[in-house]
Structure formats: structure tokens, C-alpha cells
Symmetry: D2
Subunit: 423 residues, 4 copies
């Protein structure tokens, strides 16, 4: 009795732009046509492009990153018809593995320019930077961030079911509401509304394609109703995730694979982005949305994450007082930003520049916790850095050694400051 | 050669109000007099009152909680003179143990009334509730939240060094600034400014006492400069914490011990609050504020937390869209609230009411993570519930069994709703 | 409603020999009288002496250890009448805590002289040595083994139910059988048969006491039928253990508390021995011996052991070829001895002498695994040393630094070799 | 700058016997010719056959296993010339990954007939049995042992450097010494001496091949000098292993890949055996045998093993008293056998037969510890079974449910007993 190799339901081409590959799509819309049918219980393999659809190269400059076209991203594999799934059901997806492609054993983490995507700390680090990571089995290293090595907590940045028309309408209404209300207070876009330019509607054509282009929800934000671009590092190998089903067949899509990511994915292009292959098995809980009170996805993580001992994390505290000394009210976002800044200031002592640390905090298996969220007016968060990813001792008790830390990849010819002076 | 029992530098009386015990104090101010001197390297034991200074009783109603006087809280042990510590140094505190007092083997978690303290979900749960937890060795259980048992991740809610005059001034300025700016938008106090009423200045008297009463910073918020009421559950046994020193002798104070707490401490009186004894050892890194770039405390956790396998957490996702469907902009606070709501809705299916679950999420070793914080406009957070604290299977795959879950302690005669209908 | 402090069912006196304390006993026999009754569900505290009944002092020599009277050991607390337990039942014991006594914050590990107890490596290390460990909260350190600190995986070395007459007879028969068969091949005793000298029969007197003295099983070996001196380091805080019941009331006894122990407890007096207090709760599974096929104890460990990351163990391999080059046949005992020798040879490079390392491997949380036991003729075992218990880096990749390691406590005036030259 | 896919230094053919593939060999001998050169620092991929060289099929009977030719096994990949390695050095091998081959997504565990290999419990289970495991990503399941699923702790069963002539002589002398001494007491072979039949000398021919056939050490036993068939389950992904070097170029060989294995590998063909691919990187510590006192391999495990919480193991105790009631003297091998028997008796209650459980204990991530090895006359060992690998609750406290457990694969037509009645 033979056991056949697992079936691939999607293959990708690393040499062509994502927009030219019709087995992929980059909008959330109920009308994107199915690419394949998957039976509940069947385990399948799905190849995925990196989130930019092959726009980034393995180079020592960040020129490619500087000019990434952000309308040409998130070419997702799928949507898949999970046979028998109906609105109101719960779709269970077990992530049985995620791997880089043997034919591209590297990925990258990027700091996007403030005027083209930005990131969590773009006020201080508005310029572009990039770190390329090489994959060797479970490990990655980067010539752009020396003296660091870690195993991947590998996961899909994006996974979700398709919205119904009603859900899609709600998304578009509330995001355009936000844009109307607060865009004027921000320099960069606070929400990306439907945009026909560079819409990839999968295999849809004609009127359907036009409808998707006009109405389809953009993929940048995760959304409570289906998950989507949730960027949860622990949704990794062995996880069992539970999704609400809004349309017949569930129309599961996924992509944006990450070799590793820190909590927060702070640089925005913040994980170690890569093309790869994900192996999944699905099942259906009939009527599960009601019986499980399932309004957002939930999941049970797998049992093979990288495990450092609990006492191997150097942990920084952040409170909701800005770097300018302004008191915010129970703002965990501000608090987490402060924790990140504290970590950057600390890690500088070993010779890294701020952009290198920013890239590292974004891509390594950093733990970001909400500690206290009720002690007015300060929220408190923590960021824990696993000391074992460094090949030298970063503990405050250790003798200080400055090492040659080289540099991350920058835009050719750039000569901007690599360090920011916090108050 | 005898090894003497460890020295107690503070003892407390569980039968008298905190305000009558001059070895305690409840304001942050550089002039609160030292209670004892501790030599670097010496290990000492310090008794502490519970955060309300003995106001809460082991009863089956929440009447005491309803009327807690919030000006009579946080009677801290200390401040201690760490011999040789000077401004600019880093004070290292190793938390060698925290234990309940053998003479009071119980603690409590409370939901405060919205008009007297409130909490993270007071919009939905404005009433009072209480759960008493019994301690038996490493374990706790509560007759008010049946079918749950867990070991304590025991820690001080409050630990910090005294501010200098300059730091104190900054605190008062920025918090009064916030109050001036946004109090009118809030029903409850957004910041608690210096308040002479019920100030406990330790052993200070006369003019010094009056000065402390007038200027002393209140203890509710943690603050970036020194930690204070940081409520970090992982700052537990075996942790090594690093504090900036602002005044001669460091003036370390601590208290507000927790037998256990969930990330966020969401009900406000949200940990399992208890009197207890903490064992610490200190050391000093001369000039450490500069050499370590130490602006806020940092720490390395201990190696004996309760450890569930990584795959033993049922994890809920929360995004920054409010329960009313309003889109917020990258607000991790909103996102975490949504994750909490999802967990409440799920756990109801086993027969718990919302107040019981709210108390449980606040006090059990719940993991609250920041997952993604850059995908405009949605922040994504997760809340992970260790399935092993229940004596039945809460997994979505398990057969559903409703159990008799009794009730938490409520205000005598109350008949308000115990469940909130989220949209 | 008050919650009373937990009830103590045994108290011990640290100033008098164990043999003078009738709430203790040092033989396994069905007729040792109950000391107290414990109700199923009740949580109680039980004080215990150290295993030598106060014979060892906190000194810098091993003179006390050299002359320990091995007939005066293992004064166990109990036996306890677990109300309702009957032969054929399973007694469930949850170990809710184990702590040192506040009044004696230290313990010791000893190498016994080859002619008085010996140990696993007595062929190479026949002399006496001792290390005193000081307890400070969860941590211990020893002035006799510098540069090491670890948290305790604290547990009872001995815990078991009383044998029935039939079980006792079997024990005495099979152990005297062994003695008859192989004693002539050994220099030291291969089994300790019933011995009236220094028998402590608890509160029994007269004929009963005489019967116990004559027939009572000695306490050195653990035995499959009831556990007894099993010396399992992971039977620690939070464990739930399942014991066969052979006599009415179960007659549970326990003692020989260990602050910490390595797998194998290789020096014999090999854990960090201490008096202390254990907190337990019991329950009964009626007819559990049959329904659970329970012939030997089994247990589920607790969730608060010290946790080093899986990659924090330096692991040595041992095979069943003796240090003389003799090939043994699938002998895991030989293989484990070789693994221990490899670890000793390695740790010497940092300046420790062999006796210090022998004491350390015996008392620290070392992991001893059976790896392969079927590949004729070699069994393979491993011994894993947590690198984080040292305050310097013991990794083979680290730069070698020799430190001043002082010495362990030796017999006064001794000048024997502290290092053994293995082939 | 392109990053090329990793170089394969060995490929294998799954359709031809191992003995016909000259890039493989099955003897340890200094004269087996190098197959490839690997530079220190280079990461390479190496394909390996399963240990029987393709003799076992994916079937529902054990006929193939019954007649495996045990002279045709352990076709190892290599030996590799690690450039620059010289006698006296330490060869460091980092295992960066181990994976099944995409083209054969299954493996097997077998009980060998007592007259053809046998196993740890062949006295009770003398017959043949087999379980086929299907691989889906990190998980495996077996139709022959239902209701079980776990992630692989994947590793090479065999990895080692070549012996020098001196080392080889020592091996042959001591094993033939054993054979001469004790073979007459055993029914099955106690050691396998050099045997020309079916020797695969790699690419050697003529006199060299004849010499290897005559002198080459067999591969069944691991050996202290170089590791070899050590069968250490934790020598898994991310491990860094340190090997003595005896010949120029080190001549590293490896194979016998295991998807998973329990401590002890008790059925002999006891892991989940599979062909696969291993990724390694090497480095050299010059003179490391002396500076590290390296007589046997040592290693530091990786950080991505499957991690169950410490409290998720049902743990059985075993003592050195045989199943016949005979007292052995400090024999850990006997003790571990007893622990295994206790586990078998317990797991029967759910409907598994003994052969199924025997296969499961051998192949699942079971923890086998040496607990106490000094309490004469009893050694104590433990075997811990992760409860989370079952899809039902095996805890003694859970309600008992018998499930349909089917059967493992047996020899066609066999009707022997599947259960053994222990005393």
C-alpha cells in the first residue's frame, strides 16, 4: 500500500510578478473564484509568494525596498473551496508545517520609508533599511545583523476566510469612516480603501473582476471577522485555528509567510518575509459560529516553537508616556513603543546601530506582553528579548564587549543618521 | 557554624488598618524616611499588607469591596536604605521568593464598581463582584469560580525606587497636564493627583509629613522612571530587576503582593490580592543608569513560573474595532479589550457568568500578547488561556458539558444582570 | 468567614535525635501505629527531619558525615490514617508544597565513605566530602562549590504506604535471597535486612515494638510495591501521586526531604538533604489497584519545576563499557556511571576538583536519561547539565577561564587525592 | 547576490537495496573511502536510507519485518572528509535540520522476532509486529495505533566519526571478549563481530574492501569512543554535537534517521524508521580532545523539540526487581524494563493490545529517567508518557472510555497472544 506524497494545490513562480499568476489574488471579496477544492481531512501543500510578490532581492542595499509598489502586495494563495463548509460553520485549519522553498533559502526584513509604508517607529527612523536572512535548516542568520542566530517560529502572516457581502460592506464602511474622521490628523494613510489599481482578482475576469477591483477589501489590516493579516507569530507549526465561515466553501486564502517575527512586527515589513510552502489539514464544525460564539478566529498553538527558558529573556518595561514626556491615557500602543525604545537604547551598547536593532526586534522571536492596563493613566507593557539568540552575553551583569557589527543594507548613497537621540 | 534564619526588615499587622502602621507608607516622595538599612548582598524578608490595607474580608458578598476607600491603599513596605546606592546607580533586586503569610492563607480578586475604581471592562460590567481564593501550597482555588485550580505566579504588584524632586515634579506636571486636557471627556478620574487625605508618610511628621502629603505622587500608576505599580506578572520568583537610582540609598519600596495575575490585570483589583512576605537580595551597579542606558526598569524573569506546554493555550484574537463596530487606529488597548470579550463569550458556554470569567481572566496566568501593531488601521492582540487550569476540557473539539458554576460574591441584595449582550 | 491556617499533623524538634521523637518511625511495617488521621480532601502540613535525624552540622569539615550511624536514619513522619482507605484502593496524594523550615535555612550533600554507605562512584572517590547549601528563597548556593546557584526542585525522597504482612514477607524474602546469592562478591552490603538496633517503631511499645524491630523492612531501598525511598526528583511541588493501598487507612509515611537532587542521586547522601515541611492533600480511588492496574506508584509531575530551555543542557553520553575498558552487556547502570565520569572530566577544566563535581552532579537538577537500551551490547545513557546554574559560561565554545573554586568540606586532617585518573 | 540552494553531498535511491549504492557503507573502519569533502562552515544536505536499506514496505502485515536480513542494514551516508580535521581535534557538527523525504512520507516501527533481533521485552513479546506511521508536516499518525498523534523529535540514530586502527582493535577485542565470556548464557547474540557477509565498504574495492569486510566494526552498538548508533532522541534539530577525531578528515558518517523515538528505543527497530535528509554544518576545535577532555561525544540539544508542559506526563516507576519477583542489584536496565511493563499494563485499559503499546512506547517521545541508583539493592527509573499525544484523556482521574483500537500489523496468519500476563 503506497502512501503518496502530499498533493500541492498551489505552486508559485519566483521569477514572475505576483500579479501575473492567476492562482493568486490580492483582495478579500466573496467573488474571487475558487482555485481548488480541498476535502475535509485531506492534507495539502500550498506554495506562497513572499508578500511583495518577488519585488525584493538578496542584495546589500535597500534600493528595492525604497520603491516597492505597495499596491502590488499580498498575492495570496487560494481561495480554496473546503468541501461542505457553509455560512455559520467553523472552519478548523491545522497548520501541519511551514517551510521556506528549497529553491530560495533566504528572506528579508525591511524598514519601509516613512513616505512609503512607514512603521511603528517611523518618527525616529524614517529611512529605508533591509536585512537579508539566510536559512539553513531551522536556523537563520543575517550578514546585516551579525552575532545573531535563531530558529524560525515560522508562520503565515495572512490566513482567513472570505467575507460575505455583508461583512465586506461593514469593513468598507468602518474603514472609510475612520479615514473621513482622522486622516487629516495624520501624514500617512490611516486606512487603505478599495483601489482598482493592481487589483489581482484571481482567475476572475470581466464584470466580476471589475466588481472585485471596485469593492474588494485591501489586505493590509487584519480584521476581527476573519483574521486575515493578523501577523501572530505563535500561529505557527502545529497550530489548530478556528475560523468563522461566511460563504459557501469557506474560500480560505493564505500567504505572506514569515520565517520568524517578533511580537508587534514593528518595522511593518517586519517579519522575515519569504516565499514558502504551508501544509494544512482542514475540518468543519457544523454551526460552529453559534456553538462556539465564534466572532473572531481563535487558535491553539503548536508544540514545537523555539523554547528558551523563562529566565532567558531580558525584559524591558514600557509605559504610556511618550518619548517627549507626554502622558497618554492607558494607551498600550504608546507603552509598547516605549518598551521598544528602551530595548534599542540598551542594545546599542554592543555596537549595533538603531536600524539594525529595529530590524532585529521586528523579526526575532521577541515577546511583547500587555502587563497592566488599568492603573490610570499608565498602561504597562513589556518586551522580552531572548538572550540566547546572540553569540555573546547581553546580560547587564556580563562584562561589556563591543563587537564589529557591520551595518544593515541601506539605500545606495544614503548618509542619514543611524541613531536617534531620545530625550 | 550556624546559618541564622533570614532577617525580617518589615513586619505587618493584619488586624489594624494600614494607615496606622508607620513602617508603611503610601506616597512616592524623596522625603519619606528610611525604615531600615539593607546591605548589598544581604538577603532579607519583608512582610507586606494586601493593597487595601486589610479592608477586604473572606466573605461571600462584595459589600466590603463596594465601599473600599481608594485613598487608603497601597501601604508599601519601606523605603529601604540600600547602603551605598547613589543617584545614577543601578539598583539590582533579586526576588528570591514571595509567599502568602501562613496566618492568612487566602486572597481575593475584585471587580470594582464603575463609580469607585472601575476596570478595563466597566462599560459592560459596572457592578461589584469578588472571588475569594484559598491557598494550599502552590495552588489556589476559589469557591466563587468552581472547577478551576492553578499554581501561583506570585509577585509584587509594586516595586520601585523613590523619585528625586525633579522626577517627582515631572510626574505631577505631566499627570496634571493630562487631567487638564482630557478629564472632561471621561466620567471617571483619568489621573489621581497629590492628595493630602489619608496620606501615610511613613514615620515622617510635622513639616516633612505635610510636604509629602502635598506633593507625594499617588501610587496607582506605574511610571516609566521607576516602575512602581507596574503589575507585571512575570516579575516573579527568581527575577532579577534593574532599577534607576534617583536618591541616596535608593529608597526602595514594595508591596501590593499578588498570588497570581493575568496579563492586563483587567478588573483593576485584578490580581489575587494578598498580604505576604517577599525575600530579596540587592546589589549595586555603580553608574549603571548611564552604562546600561537605564531610563526604566528592566528585568530577567525567574526559572520557576508555572509552565504549561506551548500548545496548552486556547488563544483568542482581538483587533482594534470596538464592540460597537467603530474602527480605532492601531489601538492595542481596544484590541486587547476585544480579545477579552471574545474569551468571555467563549467561556460562558460552560456555565460561568460574565463576572466570574472577568475575575478569572484578571487573576489566572493568562497570556496577553501584542501580535501586530503596524497593519493600519488594526492592531492585533491575543489572549491565551491555559486550558490546564480547568478540571474539565475547554477545547473547542471537546464534547460540551455544562457544569454547576455557582456564582461569584456580589453586593448583598444586588440583582443586576450577570451577562452582557455584545453586538 | 475565616479560612484557618492549614493544620500541622506532625511537628519535629531539630535539637533532639530522631530516635527520641515518637511521632516518627524508621521501619516499614503494618503495625507501626497511626500518628494522626487525615480526611480525604483535607490539606495538611507535615514537618520532617533531615534523613540523618539531625546528625549533620553546618560546618566546613566532613567529620560528622564520616561517622554517621546508618542505623539511625530515615525518621519518617507518620504513618497517617487516611480515613476510608482500604486494601485494594488507590491513594492519591497531591504534593501541594515542600519548603525548608524557616528555622534551618540550609541543607547539605555528602559523599559517604566507602566503608560507611559509599555511593555510585565510590570505587574512585572512596573518601568523605560534604557541601553545605544555604537557602535563600527558591535559590541555593554553597560556599563549598562556588560559582553555582540554582532553584530547588524540592521533593520528598521517601513517600509510601505501609506494606501488608504479605508484602513485607515478600520484601524480606527477596532481599535476603539476594544477600545470600551475591554478598560474597561485594565488599559492601548489597542489602540491609531487618535489624532491631536503633529501630524506631513510632509510638509502638512492648511486643508490637519488638515485632516491628524484628521484621520491619529497612528504609534504604525504594520498592516497587509502594515507592518508599524512590528519590525521584520530579515528584516535586504540584505532583499528584497514586499509591497502592495494602492496609486499612493506607498508613502513609514520608520524609527525607530534598531541596534539590540530580537524577541518580549519585553520591548516596546525594540530594541537598534538609528538614522541612510538606503540604499534602489526599483522595481515594476505591478499588483503584485493580481498575488502574496499579502495582507500583505512578505520578503526574507538577507545573513549577525549574525550567531551563531545552538547548541549555550540556549533555554527556555514557555507554556500557567500564572505565577499565570492559564490555558490559546492555547495562544502563554502567552506562550512566560512564556518563557521570565524562561530566566530571569535563567540569574539571574550570578548576573544580572531582569531589566537588561529584557532589554537584548529585545535588543539582541534572537530567539522566536512558537513551538506547537495545543495541547489543551497549546501552547508552545521557546526563544533561543545565549550563545556567553556573555564573560563568561552561559551553565548549566559550573561552576557558579558570576560577578559584575553593574546596568542599573534607574530614579534618585528610590529605587524600581529590582527583582520580581515569584511563 | 544570489544565495544558492544548499549543496547535497549524498543522494539515495529508494528503489534499490542499500548494498547496491556505493555512496553508502555499513561498517566502521578507517579505510572506508571518503565520498565527499565538506569545508568547515559549509552547510550541506545529506540524504539517508532507512536503516534496513528499503527492506520494509507500507503494508498491513509484518511479513517483511519477519525476514529482514540483519546483515543488510545501516547503510550510512559518508564518510565525509571534513577539511582540516586531524586526529586529536574535536569535530563540531550542528544538526540544522532533519526531514523525511517528500517522496516517501511515511516510516515504521517494528517489533522484531525474538530469533531475529528481538528487543527489550522479547521475553514477553517474542513475535513480530509493525506499525506504519504517516507523516504530514510535523505530525505523524498510525493506522495501526489509533487515537495517537504527535510531532516528531526527528534525529539521526547513527552519527559518528571513523575509528583509528587502534580504536577499531579495541572494539573488536572487547566485544569478542564479551562474546567469549557470556554468549553461552544467552539465547541470542550478545555482540555482532566483524562479518564479511553483506559488508558494504563504500567505494572501496579489492584488498581494501576485503580488509574492511574482515575487520570492520558492525554498526549495531553505539560505542563510547565515537557515538555511532547512540539512538539519542534529543540529538535532534538544532543540536550541536562534539566528536573526537581519530583519523585525518574525521570521516564522519551518519544515517538511520528517526522521525521520533522514545527513550530506550525499546522494540529495537524501535524508532519511527525512515529515509530522509539531514542538514549539517561542521567546525573544528583544534586539539579539542585534550582541551575538552573529550573521550565520548557530548552535545547541546536544540531549542525546538516538542514541548509538553512538565505536568503533562503520566509517569510510571520501575525498580530493579524482575517481573518474576527476583531482586537484582542496582540494575537500571531491569528497573527500566519494569517501568515499561507498568506502562503497558496501564495503557491496556483503553483497549490497546500489548504489541501496540510496546510499539508506542518505543516510538513516541517517551521520557526515560534514571531516578535513584544508589539505594541498595534497588535502582529506580521512571518512564513518562506525554498525555497530549492521545486524542482522549488517559489520566487516572478521567472517566474510562474504551475505544476501538484496531490492531498493529502482524505476520500473515499469525494467531499468537497479543497480551502477556505479568505476575
Amino acid at each position: 500500500m503506497a502512501k503518496d506524497p502530499l498533493r500541492y494545490v498551489t505552486k508559485v513562480d519566483l521569477t514572475r510578478p505576483g500579479g501575473e499568476q492567476p492562482q493568486l489574488h490580492n483582495r478579500w471579496h466573496p467573488d474571487v473564484p475558487f482555485t481548488e477544492t480541498i476535502e475535509p481531512g485531506e492534507t495539502v501543500k500550498i506554495e506562497c509568494l513572499d508578500w511583495t510578490g518577488n519585488q525584493i532581492k538578496n542584495t546589500d542595499n535597500a534600493d528595492d525596498l525604497r520603491h516597492v509598489d505597495l499596491t502590488q502586495i499580498h498575492y495570496l494563495s487560494g481561495p480554496f473551496n473546503i468541501n461542505g463548509a457553509e455560512p455559520g460553520d467553523c472552519l478548523v485549519v491545522e497548520i501541519k508545517d511551514v517551510q521556506p522553498l528549497e529553491r530560495q533559502p533566504w528572506g528579508y526584513c525591511g524598514v519601509f520609508h516613512k513616505e512609503n509604508g512607514g512603521g511603528f517607529l517611523d518618527k525616529f527612523y524614517p529611512e529605508c533599511a533591509k536585512a537579508v536572512f539566510d536559512f539553513e535548516g531551522i536556523h537563520c542568520t543575517s550578514r546585516h545583523i551579525p552575532h545573531v542566530k535563531f530558529s524560525g517560529l515560522i508562520h503565515p502572516g495572512i490566513i482567513g476566510t472570505a467575507p460575505s457581502y455583508e461583512v465586506l460592506e461593514e469593513w468598507n464602511a468602518r474603514e472609510s469612516g475612520l479615514k473621513a474622521a482622522i486622516q487629516h490628523e495624520h501624514e500617512t494613510s490611516v486606512a487603505n480603501l478599495p483601489e482598482p489599481k493592481n487589483c489581482s482578482p484571481g482567475s476572475a475576469t470581466g464584470e466580476i473582476a471589475a466588481k472585485i477591483a471596485k469593492e474588494g477589501a485591501r489586505t493590509i489590516p487584519g480584521r476581527p471577522e476573519h483574521g486575515g493579516n493578523c501577523d501572530i507569530k505563535n500561529l505557527s507549526r502545529g497550530s489548530k485555528a478556528f475560523f468563522p465561515v461566511y460563504v459557501k466553501g469557506a474560500k480560505l486564502s493564505l500567504g505572506d509567510l514569515h520565517f520568524s517575527q517578533g511580537d508587534g512586527e514593528i518595522t511593518f515589513c517586519g517579519a522575515i518575509e519569504m516565499p514558502g510552502v504551508i501544509t494544512i489539514q482542514t475540518s468543519i464544525i457544523k454551526g460552529g459560529m453559534k456553538s462556539l460564539s465564534l466572532k473572531s478566529p481563535m487558535f491553539i498553538p503548536g508544540d514545537v516553537p523555539n523554547q528558551y527558558g523563562p529566565s532567558r529573556y531580558l525584559t524591558f518595561e514600557g509605559f504610556s508616556v511618550t518619548e517627549e514626556g507626554e502622558q497618554k491615557f492607558l494607551c498600550a500602543t504608546t507603552a509598547y513603543r516605549q518598551a521598544c525604545i528602551r530595548a534599542i537604547e540598551y542594545l546599542r551598547r554592543f555596537g549595533y546601530n538603531d536600524y539594525q536593532i529595529y530590524l532585529l526586534l521586528s523579526s526575532a522571536p521577541i515577546e511583547g506582553h500587555i502587563a497592566g492596563i488599568v492603573d490610570v493613566p499608565n498602561a504597562c507593557t513589556t518586551i522580552g528579548i531572548p538572550m540566547d539568540i546572540f553569540d555573546f552575553d547581553i546580560s547587564p551583569m556580563a562584562e561589556l564587549k563591543k563587537l564589529d557589527m557591520g551595518n544593515c543594507a541601506l539605500v545606495t548613497g544614503s548618509d542619514h543618521a543611524l541613531t536617534y537621540s531620545f530625550k
